[in-house]
């Protein structure tokens, strides 16, 4: 019987391999190479399609096949594919802090030889490549950068007779202004400010100084910001955490429905807002300013994230893949991104001007994107995801009033030590 089963197993294995249609010859008879490129939200990120189109036009011997996955599951799928030995050639890393894990497993190709051969000046990436440099090698090219800015609703400011936020504001001033522009009751209430339910939307203001990070281990530096948000919740000048959770509202809805005066949020929202206003789905009159800062933190210090593009170490077409990586992360790619509502990681050449002059952009976007230092929201370090989840749990408890700020911070410190020791 065992023998029969064994024979059956082998036969079935053989049969399934007959069905095989998945293995692709990557180099066709006519000499063109097909590269697989893993991305998320392909239709929303217009710049990707435009860049691929331009690249294929200038490189007729290379075809790019896009593999699109929904954003929420992108990293899960990419991880499975890389572990499963897939031959996807190039990919973006959505959660940039995961770059370290992929590097540790040896799944990323070292780009340093290519960078040196091409003579690329990495200083044009403003140091964002440091996050993807391990043991002296660069394993990802910085592609796009997102940073936290302050979105504001001009109509709400006008109605309250308060001047628009200038591009140098402290968190104390922010709190005062929020109180001044809050108005109405019940369904008609306009909140002065809105902190989205992510822990980043409070904890970032402690990380903003560039000295602390969410991996610091003793989290007393969060205290002033939790106290500020709790004060504002109490005073009703920002929407309460409990209400945000219960309503299921997204920050985009809250802002484009005109419910809040000021929203500290990532620069990715700029393009979404432009699209919403152009499509007529929203008619909010909005602007962008530099994120507020603490008294002892210089203006222009903010928090953000840079997305890298990497080459799979198992790719059979690394040279061709590099051609594309160089193109999209270089000046041509940066220009295409800027034209299509995305801030490139590459600096200079007036990309920001191009970005800010696109159709539907409010005035002052370029000034609002002023930044002298962008600290990573999640540094590429071991266990950063665990720590981030832990911080989120305590964040919820503090903002729901289930524990005091001091208790919450004490728990964060204790949990940090436990996670790092385990």
């Amino acid at each position: 019987m065992k023998k029969t089963i064994a024979v059956f197993l082998i036969a079935l294995m053989a049969m399934t391999s007959v069905f095989a249609g998945g293995s692709q010859e990557t180099t066709a008879a006519d000499g063109t190479t097909t590269l697989t490129f893993a991305v998320w939200d392909y239709t929303q990120n217009v710049y990707l399609a435009k860049a691929i189109e331009a690249f294929e036009a200038s490189h007729p011997d290379i075809n790019i096949e896009v593999q699109d996955t929904p954003a929420a599951d992108y990293i899960t799928k990419l991880n499975t594919q890389l572990n499963g030995g897939s031959n996807v050639d190039m990919f973006l890393i959505k959660e940039a802090d995961k770059t370290k894990t992929f590097y540790d497993r040896g799944q990323l190709a070292n780009l340093t030889p290519y960078i040196e051969a091409a003579g690329i000046d990495m200083s044009a990436y403003n140091g964002t490549d440091a996050n993807f440099t391990f043991d002296g090698g660069t394993y990802g090219m910085p592609l796009r950068t997102d940073q936290y800015v302050l979105f504001y609703n001009k109509d709400i400011f006008d109605a309250a007779g308060v001047a628009y936020p200038d591009n140098d504001m402290t968190w104390t001033e922010f709190e005062d202004i929020a109180a001044q522009i809050t108005s109405g009751e019940g369904a008609n209430k306009k909140y002065g400010a809105y902190f989205h339910s992510w822990n980043a939307c409070v904890q970032n203001w402690g990380v903003q100084d560039g000295e602390h990070s969410i991996m610091s281990g003793s989290y007393e530096f969060f205290k002033p910001y939790y106290e500020m948000v709790l004060r504002m919740q109490e005073a009703g000048t920002c929407m309460s955490f409990a209400q945000i959770q219960a309503s299921g509202l997204s920050y985009t809805d809250v802002f484009s429905q005109g419910l809040v005066g000021m929203l500290p949020m990532g620069s990715w929202l700029i393009n979404t807002m432009v699209q919403r206003n152009l499509s007529g789905e929203s008619s909010v009159n909005w602007g962008v300013a530099v994120i507020p800062h603490a008294e002892d933190v210089p203006n222009g210090y903010t928090v953000g994230a840079t997305t890298p593009i990497c080459i799979n170490n198992a790719s059979k077409n690394k040279d061709a893949a590099w051609e594309f990586v160089q193109f999209i992360s270089g000046p041509e790619g940066a220009q295409i991104m800027a034209e299509n509502g995305q801030v490139p990681a590459l600096s200079g050449e007036g990309y920001l001007e191009t970005f800010a002059s696109a159709e539907g952009m409010p005035e002052g976007v370029m000034e609002g994107l002023y930044a002298t230092r962008i600290s990573p929201d999640r540094p590429a370090m071991d266990k950063v995801t665990e720590i981030d989840q832990m911080l989120l749990a305590e964040h919820q408890l503090i903002l729901l009033g289930e524990e005091t700020v001091d208790e919450g911070i004490a728990n964060m410190n204790r949990n940090y030590a436990e996670i790092m020791a385990n």
Binding site: A20, G22, A71, T80, N83, S250, L269
Partner: protein
């Protein structure tokens, strides 16, 4: 079935309870339908606005234009039907073996079946993926068909129904000269139509609603299913909830049709008529 007299008060109470329960169970459906006619920025509000201010009928047109919904729907039907058929066929066979045949190792094998149900799928997803990669089945429908057709669930479910069939009944059939296969086909299968109906509904629903499997295994647009299609309206920074709900409402219709068609097998007295207890 015997005729029983129930007091009108009791009957009324049962109706009231059922109607209240039905109202609560249908709230999400009402919400889905209402949301499917809204702009995405209007979908979430506090409190819920059950009736849209303006009816955006065009959502139901847009979903067919924006994504390849016809292809995805076809794929969903294809996978759900094929997997359900294989499950019905092989599970009923195996369930008969596990409940009515005697062979060494029967209980141990059955225990192995049940034990696998206990392990969350995420945990053994990676070895499955590696296997599919080696067989070059990534991005083919065959991968999902192979992975989902032989789950322990169907075998377990049907076995539980088969063991209620008295052995004497099968004995009688064997004496009448039916082979083991004949007994299975002529006696057991007709008696367990309600169980087969249950498995059909459950298997169809599971495959139809599966998102993670197709998400991991299908790369090309032509292979994607309706649940993946819905996700195309969800972006990293914003989601088009009006379109998501319009697609979700469309996606639920086949499920409800399958349910309505097969729940008819749960009619008191029909299946049991052939049994002598």
């Amino acid at each position: 079935m015997m005729i029983e007299k129930r007091s009108p008060v009791k009957t009324a109470l049962i109706y009231i309870l059922l109607i209240v329960l039905t109202f609560i169970t249908l709230l999400p459906l009402l919400w889905m339908v209402s949301a499917s006619f809204k702009l995405s920025s209007e979908v979430f509000s506090f409190p819920i606005k059950w009736i849209p201010e303006t009816w955006h009928w065009e959502n139901y047109v847009t979903i067919w234009q924006r994504i390849n919904l016809a292809v995805y729907t076809f794929n969903s039907f294809k996978l759900s039907i094929i997997i359900t058929l294989i499950q019905l066929l092989t599970s009923s066979f195996a369930a008969y073996g596990f409940s009515k045949c005697k062979f060494p190792g029967r209980n141990a094998l059955f225990l192995a079946y049940i034990a696998t149900i206990a392990i969350p799928w995420q945990v053994y997803m990676l070895p499955q993926y590696v296997m599919m990669q080696k067989m070059h089945l990534i991005d083919t429908h065959l991968s999902i068909i192979l992975l989902q057709s032989f789950t322990a669930f169907g075998v377990f479910l049907l076995r539980q129904f088969y063991i209620t069939i008295p052995d004497e009944l099968l004995e009688a059939a064997r004496i009448d000269g039916l082979s083991e296969y004949g007994t299975f086909a002529r006696i057991v299968l007709p008696l367990t139509k309600p169980a087969m109906a249950t498995l059909t509904i459950m298997s169809f629903v599971t495959v139809w609603n599966d998102y993670m499997g197709p998400m991991i295994y299908f790369n090309s647009d032509r292979n994607k299913t309706i649940q993946l299609g819905i996700q195309l309206f969800v972006g990293q920074y914003s989601a088009e909830y009006g379109l998501i709900m319009a697609t979700s409402v469309m996606a639920i219709i086949p499920v409800l049709i399958v349910f309505l068609a097969f729940q008819r097998f749960f009619v008191e007295g029909i299946a049991s008529s052939g049994l002598k207890g």
